[in-house]
């Protein structure tokens, strides 16, 4: 029983981790919390479903939907965040919330309000693993997450663009003095987060389906995971996401399934009381 719970927890944890990474990347580059992050997940799943319905083969549909989400990330940065660059933090939060409402509304218009499922990537036949049964899709989720994390590590540490993004997150002014275009970094960050969100959406759609409004809770939990891990920390986001998924599954399995959504937030609250900067967050030093 517990192995089943752990597996299910890790699967949803991997999704939360991907969403949390999206939050972390955008926050690092711009200090903006992108409350529309959950909508990228929704767009990934729904667009892929739409492409498959139109007749595209699954792999192509996945690639197209991730590309679409990346593009929407670019648009979000260009049209919503850049014009409001000097605004106070609360204002920026409201802008991204407005964007998420806008995207949800567009989704309900362009597609519909029904629940959709994406076909599983390699079939539905469950695999028996000791006491637990494993869906092949779960392996895809976990595998793709590991691969993505590895790819991101390579991107941030070995490519110029990645290093530029890291530079901006450490010290924006110094990065500008070194000739890094902050605007380009912001654009890439938003696009990358959009892609990550869409990937998460595509991975989870065969298991927990997708509809126009799954973005809300997923976005909130992803945000919670990012905060748990320490805002702005990539490894923190991943650890936070996995921890959140696990604790949620354990709580739902052993304590009360009706309060499943609450566990995440109770744990976050408790964690924040003892660790005000999250697990790996930088100990904020205030300049007087």
């Amino acid at each position: 029983m517990i192995s089943q719970i752990v597996l299910s927890g890790l699967t949803s944890g991997a999704i939360y981790a991907l969403v949390a990474l999206g939050f972390a990347i955008i926050y690092n580059a711009s200090h903006v919390i992108n409350f529309a992050q959950g909508e990228f997940v929704m767009i990934g799943g729904m667009a892929a479903v739409a492409f498959v319905d139109v007749g595209f083969p699954l792999p192509l549909a996945i690639v197209l939907s991730i590309t679409a989400a990346t593009f929407i990330g670019f648009l979000l940065e260009k049209l919503a965040v850049e014009p409001a660059r000097g605004a106070p933090v609360v204002t920026l939060i409201i802008i991204t919330i407005g964007a998420s409402i806008l995207l949800r509304g567009l989704a309900s218009l362009v597609w519909d309000k029904k629940i959709h499922a994406l076909p599983a990537f390699s079939g539905d036949a469950p695999i028996a693993l000791g006491n637990a049964t494993l869906l092949p899709q779960t392996l895809w989720v976990l595998g793709a997450t590991v691969a993505t994390v590895a790819a991101l590590w390579w991107f941030f540490n070995r490519t110029l663009t990645g290093k530029a993004i890291l530079a901006v997150s450490h010290n924006r002014l110094a990065a500008q003095l070194m000739g890094i275009s902050v605007r380009r970094v912001l654009l890439v960050s938003f696009g990358l987060s959009g892609a990550l969100g869409a990937l998460a959406g595509v991975l989870i759609a065969p298991i927990s389906f997708t509809s126009w409004d799954i973005g809300v809770m997923l976005g909130l939990k992803g945000f919670a995971a990012a905060i748990l891990g320490g805002l702005g920390s990539g490894p923190g986001a991943i650890v936070g996401g996995l921890a959140l998924g696990l604790m949620e599954a354990l709580g739902a399995g052993y304590l009360s399934s009706a309060y499943k959504d609450v566990f995440a937030f109770v744990i976050i609250l408790a964690a924040l009381v003892f660790l005000p900067n999250g697990l790996f967050g930088r100990r904020a030093a205030e300049r007087v």
Binding site: Y27, I33, A80, P83, A84, G86, A87, P88, V89, V90, T91, L92, I93, I94, I95, I97, G98, A99, S100, I101, L102, L103, R104, G105, L106, S108, L109, V216, L220, F223, A224, I227, L231, A258, Y259, D261, V262, F265, V266, I268, L269, L272, V273, P276, N277, G278, A284, E286, V288
Partner: protein, 300 residues
């Protein structure tokens, strides 16, 4: 202004909107004290609203208490909860505080929806009509005056607070917590006061709302409602009580107007939120005040 408005209200529906505006405005004025003056943030204030609503409703429905008693008891209880919860939470800053308040709000709304033996679950519960001695409080016009009076009282309270030593302490905190502490102001105490006062006001409005509509659902404590409230405060203008009221007025009536557009309602709402925040980052009232001051300067 509250007295003049009924002249413009044609029918029950417009009265209803005005009452909704008033209720939201009460919460927003309180929330503005927390966000605009004390410089904190709360993404879960609808939770306090919901607690106030359900608290008063349950006391009235299951224990038969008259709303004249249940309302103050409820507000005091929610204030106590806010005090207990606020103490550890207000040590957090910025996005971490936002997350903590967000979590609180969600926990409250899920608990309200799940404990259906007490609260009637996701479908909500009905609230008995208000009876004071022989008089049944009903009718849009009556409630309009009740809510209007409550709003006037709230604004008066807020303005007095803002001009008091505590209000100045809040503004000092907002500017720089370290400097305020160096000047002898205890940040924790004052932040807690702002939190508790705004929570009490939200509960007050919630209880009024419950008794007015005769029915409440857990959606009143939802994350979306919390976001709406914060948007009203920021849109109207932070650190401006009048701005909070204006923000509540505009953003309560706007969705009503937008229902004409049916399916496009969400898209338009999101677009309006984004555009107004992009072009008026300080909010409506401060931007208009700025324009007015600039125009006056030019004409001199």
């Amino acid at each position: 202004m509250v007295a003049v408005l009924p002249l413009a209200l044609a029918n029950n529906y417009t009265y209803e909107i005005a009452i909704l505006v008033g209720l939201n405005a009460i919460v927003c004025v309180g929330l503005n004290l927390l966000i605009g003056y004390a410089g904190q943030i709360s993404l879960g204030h609808a939770g306090f609203f919901g607690l106030g609503a359900y608290g008063s409703a349950i006391l009235a429905a299951r224990y038969g208490l008259s709303p004249l008693i249940s309302l103050p008891v409820c507000v005091a209880a929610v204030a106590a909860i806010a005090w207990i919860v606020g103490k550890p939470i207000l040590r957090l800053k910025g996005h971490y505080l936002a997350m903590a308040t967000l979590g609180l709000g969600i926990i409250v709304s899920v608990v309200l929806a799940t404990e259906d033996r007490i609260t009637g679950g996701p479908d909500g519960m009905s609230v008995p009509a208000v009876r004071i001695a022989e008089w049944v409080v009903a009718g849009e016009a009556t409630w309009y005056w009740i809510v209007g009076g409550a709003l006037v009282l709230t604004v008066w309270l807020a303005q007095n607070l803002i001009d008091s030593p505590r209000g100045r302490a809040w503004r000092a905190l907002h500017g720089s917590e370290v400097a305020a502490a160096a000047a002898g102001i205890d940040p924790a105490r004052h932040k807690l006061a702002a939190f508790v006062i705004s929570a009490a006001l939200a509960a007050f409005a919630g209880a009024l709302a419950a008794h007015y509509s005769g029915f409440i659902t857990p959606s009143k404590a939802s994350f979306l409602h919390s976001i709406e409230l914060v948007t009203m405060v920021v849109f109207g203008g932070m650190a401006s009580t009048f701005g909070a009221v204006v923000g509540a007025a505009v953003l309560t009536t706007l969705p009503q107007l937008l229902t004409v557009f049916k399916e496009y309602e969400m898209v338009l709402l999101g677009a309006v939120m984004m555009l107004t925040m992009i072009f008026m980052p300080r909010g409506l009232v401060p931007t208009l005040e700025g324009l007015y001051a600039a125009a006056r300067r030019k004409s001199e």
